[in-house]
Symmetry: D3
């Protein structure tokens, strides 16, 4: 089975980290192919960048030259999953939804802890559309950006751990979804500090994508995610033109 997992930003090192994380949980025989969009922002922290990422991810996936069995969109709180579902016949899994769905099997309520405060409404909106907010205790932000996560990891981790602790103690979360990645030690530290299960979206998405494929299930095509009707398109695929110019 081949699963494409697509980063939403253009930072190759993050793509690699995502791919490694995915492979760590993939079943034997599952081939994980990580992809970096050909255009967009080097990190997604808002609606504009998220919409740009949505197109860049679709653009990257539809130009992938080999057959594949499922696609994972690896951005937390990002736009675009519905578009991919229209364009493809194989299952599409978003990591925000995968993490939340998984968390709901583990505790009465869950929280998401992310980096920037401005990402909170995006994550809340994606979870609202996904119908996954009834048991959402809170979405909390550490207040530190992705950059700081790399430049001053100790301080960044401390802030994430602190928000996770508040989510458990005050918001009554029993599970934490980490809405940011790239640090192996982060998960362990949050678990130790809070005593609750920590769900990583990438890993959750890999298991769900594999499960759907194994059960022979894919996106329903009767209505919302039917293939686009034939029509005149200009400027698509975007990268084809950008790259060949």
């Amino acid at each position: 089975m081949r699963i494409l997992i697509v980063n939403v930003n253009t930072t190759a090192s993050m793509t690699k980290a995502i791919g490694d994380s995915a492979r760590a949980v993939a079943s034997p025989g599952t081939d994980i192919i990580e992809l970096t969009p050909d255009f967009g922002a080097d990190s997604c922290e808002g609606n504009f960048e998220s919409y740009l990422a949505a197109m860049a991810v679709m653009d990257k996936v539809i130009r992938y030259p080999e057959p594949f069995d499922a696609v994972i969109q690896a951005g937390y709180g990002e736009h675009g999953r519905e578009g991919l579902q229209e364009l493809l016949d194989v299952p599409v899994v978003d990591i925000t939804e995968a993490a939340a769905s998984t968390a709901q099997f583990l505790g009465h309520k869950y929280s998401v802890v992310t980096t920037l405060d401005r990402a909170v409404p995006l994550i809340e909106d994606r979870l609202k559309l996904a119908g996954l907010t009834d048991r959402l205790a809170s979405v909390r932000a550490s207040g530190l950006g992705v950059l700081e996560l790399e430049s001053d990891p100790q301080r960044a981790v401390a802030a994430i751990v602190e928000q996770s602790r508040i989510a458990v103690e005050q918001d009554k979360a029993e599970v934490i979804c980490l809405g940011c990645g790239g640090m192996a030690e982060l998960e362990e530290q949050v678990r130790t500090a809070t005593g609750v299960p920590i769900v990583d979206g990438v890993r959750a998405a890999v298991t769900i994508a594999e499960s759907l494929v194994r059960m022979g299930l894919s996106t329903s095509k009767v209505r919302t995610y039917a293939p686009p009707r034939p029509k005149v398109l200009s400027g698509w695929p975007i990268s084809a033109e950008l790259i060949t110019k």
Copy 2:
């Protein structure tokens, strides 16, 4: 006051109709500038096309060379409004939300009647995020596409009128928002058939945009719609590269 009103598809005749409709209700002294995206689909009837339109609209607006006071995104149930709000300092009004907001001043419950069944979930999702579903009686589709609306207008109108009538009689809507445009007689016929007020999104959006400007109000920048953080972007603006290639 100058208001940009941006079509979401690439069909120039529809842009012109939108502009004319906007001008019909604009105050004296308001300058309506209608814009057609430089890339995308010739009609938007699904998530993929809607995401493409989101980028095309942003792309068009940020390259507009003159100052302006407000922007209207003239697509029913389309993505993208939040991105524009981040990129701009002036108010941004989406016609789906403008119509629903206006309808709520006119009756206890309202319905939206649109063309294709597959557009229904998109409209529902936009209204859900906008917090405008508590008094939504239904979103109904005539089952006929935008094409048919032009090729066989009589049949298309009859189908829209029929769904509007059902919305009033069965779903208990007291106001109808028409989620499709381009036909002057449509509005009159639906009003006659149902006896309820008919709200046109373009006109509603023009009055709201003017009102916000008049009150000196614009998008809050403290959190969700703060300007994008400075970062490395590639392939943006998209059209700049597409056009100059």
Copy 3:
């Protein structure tokens, strides 16, 4: 265009302030007529007074001797708007709903900041019926009554500013609706302290009333707001008898 704007209490100075505020944003050619009820309380801070105001407002409006194009009910969180809609053919706009509707175009979530704590449930109830609570972050009270607002303005303003700041920082409001009026400097101080757009209900209502009239739209009469059925009424209009006694 003539718009009646009706105060809900019997304090003439507040009626005048409301009228002035309305005129400040009205279009050229709009005639603002402010009205004071002929009976009721000198300020409305609870359900009993609000119900009394509801009748006093209807009573005042139906006896207005000249034609008019729209009516604004200028009380925050008060009863009565639905009754006016039944009695009149022209649009009726409540300032609580007008402010909230407007705020939703400006930020992801909004809060209302008012004077007395006991008014909070009234405002929440009106917004719940209006279907405008999905994006309501909070309704907060300064704890000071309307009286204090006049007798010790500095302390009153400080309390309002403080609650607005908490609404933005803790409740994550991105827009503030001021659920109290009468002080020009209040709005400016809250904006400065919070950095978010401040919506005034009276001004929002004037632009919405004008917009509805301009679009030729008025209250739907097919069901909830149909004219009262002919029946035997006693003691109505109330003031006719009160005044002529």
Copy 4:
């Protein structure tokens, strides 16, 4: 124990029927005093009449010359209960809420069946504010007014029975609240036709009012229903002036 039960309209024969119905279920030692407002409409079928009734009921109750232990407002879907709660120290029970609360002990979902279609939104709004809609299957109307209920009882009953049957079979109601009164045989016929328990609001309210008194419980005065603050009132009580003029 003395319980005041107040009709919302001025039709004395309906007041008497309400009183008789209340007495039929009252405990030994409970004194039921039925009251007719001194002004208002001879039947309440809309918001205007309902607001007028709200004031007329308060007016009647505060002028009642003897002590009493509880008040029941006997109108289906009418305004005013919150105002009475502010004015009085004794418990106030609305029959719409009493019926729904009682129905919830008897089945998984309940429906309300009333006379006129235009009363449906009023009932829905009262139940929404009362927090009693989660298990509400539907509010249905027979389409016949109170008048017809008396002039052509057989046809009226048939229409009510038919809507009750649909509520059970299609809407999956397991209990019916009758949102109209005055006919002894109605209840029996609906029960026979549907096989579900039928809840009468007046009787439910009597038992609840008695229960609250027996437990020594009354309206909380800490916030929403605190007594009105002292202030200048004109035209109140309304009837005092109307009557003495």
Copy 5:
């Protein structure tokens, strides 16, 4: 009238306290029979014990040898009420729901204050299924178990009073439902500390059960609570076999 009131745990002293509390509010002529399950836990503080209690309560009730008119399940936040409703023709009242229903007649919002934090989600879940959460301000726990309530009453009461105070001041509850029993002074102290009405579930349930019987109402049998279909059962009733072994 004979009402069975069944404790959910096996501690006889608590059963007696429940019976005494019930009798204190019962009408003359009502015979209160308190019952202790024949198996289960000596206190219920979690789902496992609650499910065990559900069966033990049903088991006890169906083996009661005399006729009875209603059943009260006297556990806060426990499972089982729906099963009893299927097995019996007489009304079944759960004290959690009885308290919440009663509280809603007394204030705009109510809170439940209980002992252990782990009981909070159970109570929330029962109230959610009962459709009684719209006006629920909070469910709060003192953090002390039932044991402590008896071993160190002063400290336990202080903790309950403190949480009740927070519920009123911060969560804006206007009524408190005590989700724990067995101490006469507790209710008085919470009322004094908060100034709000205190609802006791057992007493509320007795008045509701009596009321239903008086009105001739019982559980609807058309769907959810129809009698179990005839089928092969083994191990039922459980206690019959346990006891006779």
Copy 6:
């Protein structure tokens, strides 16, 4: 990895079918152990039987003599999952929730189609507590019991297919969860008739249980599902006494 999958009724042939279905999708290396409760009903079609099944399932699982890695409760809409989560350290997956969670990755809305009408509220209640109703289009019943499913399969299948078709066409479901099992051809026929993906709860649960184990995740123990506190239990485990009597 060893997964216990527990039937909720005492019919051994259904246990075997469940085990076979689970094995069909289990990964190589996963050992599926199907279990039949030692007491209870031969089919679960209501709350009483469901509560009895809850205890019987817990009873069976805690007496299982070998180590295991996860437990699946294989009943549609049944009670008990929360109790198992308290008693065990390994993940617990309920098939009702597993099916719904999986369906949400495949379409905009999903429906559940089951056998008896009386099971509908049970399934709705379980999904409500699980926070999985926002995207639930409907729960529909064929009206035929489990018995008929075996005695007259052709008629039973036709009824299920018909309700599935209505769910897709009228309720706008894009995915169907089959809330009944035991017939290989059923799934195929529903898929053919509706054109939408069909989710089987048992298979979905197996993939989810395996995924949780693979990620090293299990039930959070900080609050709701903490192990039962030490206390005096009588009659537990139930079957130990029943069997040895």
